[in-house]
Symmetry: C2
Subunit: 306 residues, 2 copies
């Protein structure tokens, strides 16, 4: 099964602290790495966790608050200085392309590689990225500036999985395997028929991951993230700060858990912690009362998807 | 004596590495802190070394290469979110003010404090900052884009320093002290005259610090940094890369030492190390052959000035 996981690079909020970097994470799907948000210091976090900056081809920016994109120009610049030549795709709200170009202009830089910008369409949940096995969709969020989450979803797999014992015993040809994957029965050299259902397993169910930061409590996202295996939902505040959360259009951990429950996800990852908290267990406790499979995300840790 | 020292926050070059952050340092003079360059991650380095971001009022930017200023917008933003109200002064090459304003515009930010920009005048060694005891001057450098160093210089002190034993014995009045500081003799209650030269010491000599990064080898700076107590001069490369240094308008450690020797400085601090070096002792060795009091700067370390 293709490796599908997320590495948390930063799970703090507006201002970096001794304990947290602002938002950034890396979604791995097979050989692809997708960077989600890129706060100041993201390239340093990548160095710390041994991720080569040049290995990323797709960067998704959720919204234009500095704690989600101030590290982008540094990452682009380091790719340039490192000799990158292949295209880099950036999916971002309107305005970022012009700012990045402004940086390149005043630093007198002509990039050695093509930088391709795609601007998020407001209020649309369109497809940003798609290949034969994965798609990434926009998810409109509710925040003080236009903001989007991202849903990473494996495509539906039609190929049945062939039983290993059958392969060992019968040593089928490549053509046999292809027919079996498509649901056909197997005819042995002795003319004996083995039924497909007896020698194959159903395809793996498609796996999915949703990133929702920054956002106020907003049930309208539930339909878009229904049944995802892993949900990262911002939990900037605890219950004692619910009024503040409403005012500044952020969520409490309990609200994140409520969304996780309504969306019937497998697991909730908490993050985008306010710098106020020295200890985060209150957030986890409050979330678990509503949705037991809630965990505090930790920087430098990988979380399996599905 | 007023505390005068520099804290190295970053002494790497173009690209951050596991070992070094790009350029940034903090000059302390009494209660004032002056930030010199502000690469990505500078605010994180300040957190690491327990420097409050709000405590800085003056920021000097040497030139518009990203490894010297990409962290500025993050620092400004954190000051804003932290509730700063007092003015922040930024001294920078032409172009940076407009880029910072572009950031503020697309992040929808109206700063709560005044941001005052002063643009370096090309090819001039003018005074950037001045108060009763210190001045900071521009120093034009030779680089691929307009670049400046900074010279921090104490003003000449005229007040003589009164001997502590005399104070203990004679318990002079404030008026007596002021007269003694200005060179007058002292007349005791018994009418006996004590000569000024017998009960005072000469004023402390003014102390000075020069920051020179980024620059090719350029003897024309020698007159501006003559006799400084401490010189930070970039030493991006070692002798085996002298040709490259010339091409990209950087210096070798030996060239930095040669400038230190010609300028008759007390001590040379090496920095702006190329990311190529895993071990830096070659740079130190090569510098010391020309100027023995050369040392490798280290991040997180304070260096006394004078």
């Amino acid at each position: 099964m293709v490796d599908f996981k997320v590495l948390i690079l930063g799970n703090g909020s507006a201002v970096p602290t001794r304990w947290h970097n602002p938002s950034s994470q890396l979604v791995f799907y097979g050989k692809n790495k997708f960077l989600v948000d890129c706060a100041e210091g993201t390239q340093m976090q990548m160095i710390r966790y041994k991720i080569g900056g040049a290995s990323i081809d797709h960067i998704f920016i959720s919204h234009l608050h500095g704690d989600h994109f101030f590290g982008l120009i540094g990452l682009i610049s380091s790719n340039h200085l490192g000799g990158r030549q292949k295209e880099l795709f950036i999916y971002a709200p309107e305005g970022l392309e012009s700012l990045i170009n402004h940086h390149l202009e005043i630093t007198n830089t002509t990039l050695r590689f093509p930088l391709r910008f795609f601007t998020h369409e407001k209020n649309k949940a369109g497809i940003l990225f798609e290949d034969k096995s994965l798609e990434v969709r926009l998810l409109p969020l509710k925040h003080s500036v236009p903001a989007w989450g991202f849903v990473f979803k494996e495509k539906k797999r039609n190929r049945r999985r062939i039983d290993r014992t059958f392969v060992d015993v019968q040593n089928p040809s490549i053509e046999d395997i292809q027919r079996l994957q498509q649901g056909e029965d197997f005819v042995g050299k002795d003319g004996k028929v083995l039924l497909n259902k007896d020698i194959t397993h159903p395809p793996f169910p498609p796996r999915s991951y949703a990133y929702c930061s920054d956002t106020a409590y907003d049930e309208s996202i539930v339909d878009f993230i229904k049944n995802v295996n892993l949900l990262y939902h911002e939990s900037t505040f605890d219950n004692s700060m619910q009024d503040l959360a409403e005012t500044v259009l952020h969520s409490t951990a309990e609200q994140a858990a409520s969304i996780a429950k309504k969306a019937n996800v497998d697991k909730l990852l908490l993050g985008h912690y306010s710098g106020r908290f020295k200890e985060l267990h209150t957030l986890e406790d409050e979330a678990r009362k509503v949705f037991p499979n809630s965990v505090l995300s930790r920087e430098g840790e990988y979380y399996r998807i599905g």
